[in-house]
Subunit: 395 residues, 2 copies
């Protein structure tokens, strides 16, 4: 019966990262491989209290079928949060999704015919590559660096063929940890403004800034072309699967129809709990606690890298988020390093899956959000040892 | 920017039913239009207690990212439930989804290339038509009647072109309320057995049998070709969005990849609560209570129809589920009836949306699960009046 499988599934290999994460979860291995928030920071007591309040206030309303748009009070809260940042998105343009990941799927469903052009960051978020891949687009990767997207490469890509969308994680990007500068955002917006292209601004980490200043959203420059994705996964909890799409009128209704066809609506109960938690608690205080911890862990990772990694290894210095990106000397394979590192009892994700076309063999992603500082120090030391062993082997 | 929308969205009109449900939800209108379980039957206290227990037992584990397959204990429970019915489906072949609706989307994603043949019941479940439509299949409708699917029509449809899947709701079908007889199931399985076609057996209502005997699943006849969809929406609560796909090995891994790309995983928290509820409570006792209420409401609707509808109106006599199907005399339009009925303060869903190709103009669906018996009697009386007015107008 396997021959009945649709063509769109043929290019999607069994997830390499899932296999890798299985190895990384073996006992005694220090893992920088995952992309998990630190579960010690989950506001368990406040969520327990919010849940009790939801039962008291709403009774069995939370159990019934609901509309596809999402809980109206939660949509209003999200619109208000944007408004406080001088971003004008009315609640009617907000669609609650099962995490921002579902937003990617719905955008692909609504916009992408087979072969349509999608500009993707290089390296780029694997979940976006996977979600869009199922609609068989043509990916045009454009490099990102510490300044943001390479605008020359972008202009070149756009001149070569038409594209329907550009996908970007401009704040503390996954996987690289980089943030687009203001100048880069302005330049990018100017390029897109002239074209008939949507930009998907995925911003799961935006609130988690340790240093520097917040940069403007593309929504402030090209509002009619910007689709924003947001999520409570990194600032409250991911297991509730509550994210959203904030989309212009031009496609909102189609996204809603796609949502309805995909699963009718997002879980009511957790939408209500998130909203109640936001009513009953000062989210900013909680976020400050998350920032403080992640910042400390990030600094610990950087200082440990400076102590323990060979000097010919480069790495990014994130201003926020959960990831840091490492570049080994050219010719040194992160896949080879992975095998040695696992023997040293430390794991990470090699960079290649974040590239279209198997590039980035000498890169890797390190997660610092889910591991405490003592463990980070030990793990980075082990990884430094593994790097030395690999470089010695290759001499 | 509207011109960027993908071709697959072009055939999906703004949901007619959603517009209709808005009208039906106006004050003082008795609505048989929705498809909602009766919220007075939701086990609110037990679910509240189960939620407290989940917090106590699992702590903040329920808040973290999880695997795409779903909560292992819930998958094991579902496998065990099948096993008690002598259906052999190991837990490893069960994928937790956001309601069975997501199962439809994932099956479409994994199996359907543009133009692939899908056999669909006529009338058929609108959510399935919508979900599959987004993958641009070729629908071959096959009539269903009180006996089940029309096997001659099925043979004819299959002889004319190849098909990848057949979608069926064999128990208390939505929208018609009919149930496939055992003979019909055997005959259908024999036809499919010879072909390279998956059958999708969607069974959200199967537990809600008021009369007659349970009929065997297609899984017992053609196990390698049967994909089963199940849901806790109708037997516990729908707002948690917990359903599942039980799929053969041939496509399980692909469904899992599609799930991961679509939204990473289903809400953890409600998976844990459903599982805990099932541990702490006798679900059979709860289901008996639901059956008893729906059975009474269904009988009330039938006796009210016998009293108040014109004698030239036909209707199905469901053995379970939530719906009953009405056929007006040929030439009488249920859309015309809808307008008059709304003036009489009663609403229903006209049958046409459940057909491919605008058939069924003289049919309509009545829901009996969400309305109490006194209201059913009043509503059916109003609807009978509306039918008489329409027939008089047309004389």
């Amino acid at each position: 019966m396997e021959n009945l499988i649709a063509d769109r599934m043929s290019d999607i290999p069994k997830s390499f990262i899932r296999e890798m994460l299985k190895i990384a979860s073996q006992p005694n291995i220090i893992s920088f491989a995952g992309g998990l928030p630190n579960k010690d920071l989950f506001p368990t007591e406040s969520l327990t209290a919010a849940t009790e309040n939801v039962f008291k206030i709403y009774g069995n309303d939370v159990f019934q079928y609901s509309n596809s748009e999402g809980f109206s009070k939660l949509r209003a809260y999200i619109a208000e949060t944007y408004s406080k940042k001088n971003i004008d998105i009315p609640a009617k343009n907000i669609l609650i999704t099962n995490g921002a990941q579902q937003g990617l799927d719905l955008i692909g469903k609504v916009l992408l015919n087979e072969g349509d052009g999608v500009i993707i960051e290089e390296p780029g978020y694997l979940g976006a590559i996977q979600a869009f891949s199922l609609y068989n687009p043509y990916f045009s990767p454009v490099a990102v660096s510490e300044q943001g997207m390479d605008l020359q490469q972008l202009e070149l890509a756009i001149s070569k063929r038409t594209h329907k969308l550009l996908y970007a994680v401009p704040n503390f990007q996954n996987p690289s940890g980089i943030t687009y500068s203001k100048e880069n955002r302005v330049g990018l917006a100017e390029i897109i403004q002239k074209k008939n292209i949507f930009i998907v601004e995925d911003d799961p980490y935006g609130e988690l800034r340790f240093s520097g200043s917040p940069q403007p959203s593309f929504k402030t420059y090209i509002p009619d072309k910007t689709i924003m994705l947001g999520s409570f996964s990194k600032i409250i909890v991911p297991g509730f699967r509550i994210g959203w799409i904030a989309a212009p009128d031009a496609i909102f209704e189609k996204l809603l129809i796609a949502k309805q066809a995909s699963d009718l609506h997002t879980c009511n109960f957790t939408q209500y709990i998130i909203h109640q938690y936001l009513q009953d608690n000062a989210i900013d205080t909680h976020i400050e606690r998350v920032i403080s911890t992640y910042s400390e862990q990030c600094q610990c990772m950087i200082s440990s890298i400076n102590r323990f990694f060979p000097k010919n290894v480069q790495f990014t210095q994130p201003e926020g988020g959960m990831f840091l990106w490492v570049t080994l000397p050219s010719g040194i394979s992160a896949m080879d390093l992975f095998d040695i590192a696992v023997k040293e009892k430390v794991a990470f994700v090699p960079g290649t899956p974040f590239y279209i076309n198997d590039k980035g063999d000498n890169t890797l992603r390190l997660n610092f959000s889910s591991v405490d500082t003592a463990t980070i120090e030990t793990g980075i030391k082990r990884l430094g040892n593994a790097m030395r062993k690999l470089q010695e082997n290759q001499r």
